[in-house]
Symmetry: C2
Subunit: 339 residues, 2 copies
C-alpha cells in the first residue's frame, strides 16, 4: 500500500487537495501558492481555526479516517454556526508521518470534504508537513455573513433567556462510557450506548439551525458547546458581563443521559453541564421573541431547550432547584492541565 | 517560569492572541468562536497555509522564538507576494507541549505579529492544542487582490523572460554550511558565513516588490522560491505548459555563493538552483516590459535578475552554457522522501 514516503510529498499533496468539483467562488484553487476566492461583495468575512492531535483529540481505533475528517469539519463548522455565518472555504494543514498510507489520507480528506460540502463549503488549499511524533490536523474555515449580523459571545443582557440546541452532554457521556466499558471501537459498544458514543464520534454542526435562528433576529449572544455547557456558558457570561441561572431539572430531561449517569454513578446534571464537546449552540435570546426561535428550531428539525436566563450578577452561574439556589463553578476542559 | 500546564490552555490562548492594536478591518477579534473581518468590497480574497514542525523545519538552538515567528510569517507572506496579494489577516494554530514556557510562546507570537504587521497584516485568531511529540505551528494568511489581478503559476508563454528576485540559493547554502561547520547557533558561525546563515534563518518575503511589479502589468506567471529555484521553476513550467532555458552564468554571479560552493566542494550553479527556501520571487515576464520591471525592482530596492526565458518545450528545463545545452532535473525538496 503506498505510503507518504513513497508517493512523495508533492504528489500526495496534489492528490489530496485536488479540487473535486468546480465552485464558482474559487478563481484559483488548490495547487498554486495560494487560493484566490471571490466573496460576495459587501459581506463580512468570518474565520476560525481548530486542530486535532492524535492521541489527544482522536484515537485511530475509534475513528476511521473519513469519520475523523468529518469530525474536524464539524468542529470548525460549529464555530461558524455560533457566529451565524455561512461556511464557504477551508484550508487543511496536516502533520503526518512518512509511513502514513496515502489512501487513508485521501479517505480523511474525502470525509472532510463531504462534511464541508453538505454545509456549502469547499476545500481550497492545504499543506502537508512531515512529523515523527503524534500526527495532527489543523483546519481553517472561512465563511460569510451580512455586515453587522454576526453573533458574538458578547451581547447578552440580564433578562435574556438561555437556550441550548440538541442534547448537550451526550458527547462527554459517550466518551466516559467508552472509557469505562474498556472496549476499543464503536462496533464493540453495546447497542444501548451507541447513540451517546456517536454523539462523541460523529457530531453534526448546527449550521442550518443557526441560519434559521439568525433570520428571527432574536439571538443576542451565542457560543458553540465545545468545552461543555457550564464552561461555555461561563465564557458567554464573561464576554457579556452578565450572570446566568440554570434550572436544575433541565439537566435531567434527557433519558439517555439519565441512564448513563446511573451507570457511571454521577449526577445527571453534571453529565449534562460538564465537559463535553457536543458542537451544539448555546444562545442568549430576547425573551419577547422566544416563539420565533421555537418555530425556527422546529423548521430546522432540531430540539431547542430554554434552560434558564441571564442575570445581572456578572460572572456568577447559579443552579435553581425549586426554591434552592447554588453557585456553580464554570470550568471547562483544560487540555494542558496536570493529569 | 510559568508553563502552559500552569497557566491553563484558555488563559494562555487569551494572552497569546490578544489583539495588540485595533484594526479597522477587524469587527470581532481574537477570543470569540471566530473572527469577523471586513474586506474591501469587491476585492478577491487570497488564502494560504504553511506549517513548521520542530526538528524538521526549525531547530530551537538555531532560532529563538521571536525569530521562528518571523520566519513562519515570511513563509506565508511569500505565498501571498507570489499571488500579488496584499496581506491582511492571519490565524495561528499551535501544537505545544505542556512544559512549553508561556513567555517563549508570547515571544514567538510577538515575532510573528511584528513580521506580519510590517507588511500590513494582523493576527485575528488562533488555537493551541496539546501535543506530547514534536511541536508545530500552522499559519493561515489571508490577503486581498483586485479581481482578476492575482498572479498564478499558470500564464507563462514561450518567449517570456524568467526573472528571480534577491539572491536565490543563499538559504540552502546557509543551511548546508551550518551543518558542515558542526556548530549550533548563529553566534558560533564565522562572520564570513553569517549572511548565508541569515538568509536561511531570517528570510524576508518580497511583498513590496510584488506590489510594485504588479503595477507594471508585466508579470505573466509567478511562484515563490520555497523548494529551490529548479524545483519551483519546474512547477511554474508544468502549470503554464512551457519549458525554460536558464543561462549557466546566472548561477555564478553571487560571489558569496561562489565562495560557499568552493568550501562545500559543489558546483555554484547547483547551490544557486538546488533545494533552498529563499522566499524570493520567480517570475515570467513579458519581454516587451522588462524595463518597467527593472524600474520597479530598483524602486523596491531589491535585486531582480533576468536569468533565462520560457520555451515551447513543455516541461523541459535546460541549462545553457555558451553553445552547450543540457536538460536539468527539476526536483525540489521532498520532506517525506527516504533519507
Amino acid at each position: 500500500m503506498p505510503r507518504l514516503r513513497d508517493a512523495g510529498e508533492l504528489e500526495a499533496l496534489r492528490r489530496l487537495i485536488a479540487a473535486r468539483a468546480a465552485d464558482p467562488t474559487v478563481v484559483v484553487g488548490p495547487g498554486d501558492d495560494a487560493a484566490v476566492l471571490r466573496p460576495e461583495p459587501g459581506m463580512d468575512l468570518v474565520a476560525t481555526t481548530d486542530a486535532f492531535v492524535e492521541g489527544r483529540h482522536y484515537l485511530p481505533e475509534w475513528l476511521a479516517p473519513a469519520g475523523l475528517g468529518g469530525r474536524l469539519a464539524a468542529a470548525n463548522l460549529s464555530d461558524l454556526a455560533a457566529m451565524a455565518a455561512e461556511p464557504r472555504w477551508a484550508l487543511l494543514s496536516i502533520g503526518a508521518r512518512a509511513d502514513h498510507e496515502v489512501e487513508a489520507l485521501e479517505a480523511l480528506e474525502h470525509g472532510l470534504e463531504q462534511a464541508l460540502r453538505s454545509e456549502g463549503a469547499v476545500v481550497v488549499g492545504g499543506n502537508i508537513a512531515a512529523t515523527e511524533g503524534p500526527e495532527w490536523l489543523s483546519l481553517t474555515l472561512l465563511g460569510e455573513v451580512a455586515p453587522g449580523r454576526a453573533w458574538a459571545r458578547r451581547g447578552a443582557r440580564p433578562g435574556d433567556l438561555i437556550a441550548a440546541s440538541g442534547a448537550p452532554g451526550r458527547a462527554g457521556a459517550g466518551l466516559r462510557l467508552a472509557r469505562s466499558l474498556g472496549v476499543k471501537g464503536r462496533e464493540r459498544v453495546p447497542a444501548e450506548w451507541q447513540a451517546l458514543v456517536d454523539a462523541w464520534l460523529a457530531p453534526r454542526a448546527r449550521v442550518a439551525l443557526a441560519r434559521m435562528l439568525a433570520a428571527t433576529g432574536a439571538v443576542t449572544a451565542a457560543i458553540d458547546l465545545s468545552d461543555g455547557l457550564l464552561g461555555d456558558l461561563g465564557q458567554l457570561c464573561r464576554a457579556s458581563a452578565v450572570g446566568a441561572e440554570i434550572r436544575g431539572e433541565a439537566g435531567g430531561s434527557d433519558p439517555l443521559l439519565a441512564r448513563a449517569a446511573k451507570t457511571l454513578d454521577v449526577d445527571p446534571f453534571d453529565l449534562w453541564a460538564g465537559p463535553s464537546d457536543d458542537y451544539e449552540l448555546l444562545l442568549a435570546v430576547d425573551p419577547s421573541r422566544r416563539a420565533a426561535c421555537e418555530l425556527a428550531a422546529e423548521a430546522a428539525g432540531v430540539a431547542l431547550a430554554f434552560i434558564g436566563g441571564c442575570t445581572d450578577a456578572s460572572g456568577a452561574i447559579e443552579r435553581l432547584d425549586g426554591g434552592s439556589r447554588r453557585t456553580l463553578d464554570p470550568t471547562g476542559f483544560d487540555h494542558f492541565a496536570r493529569g
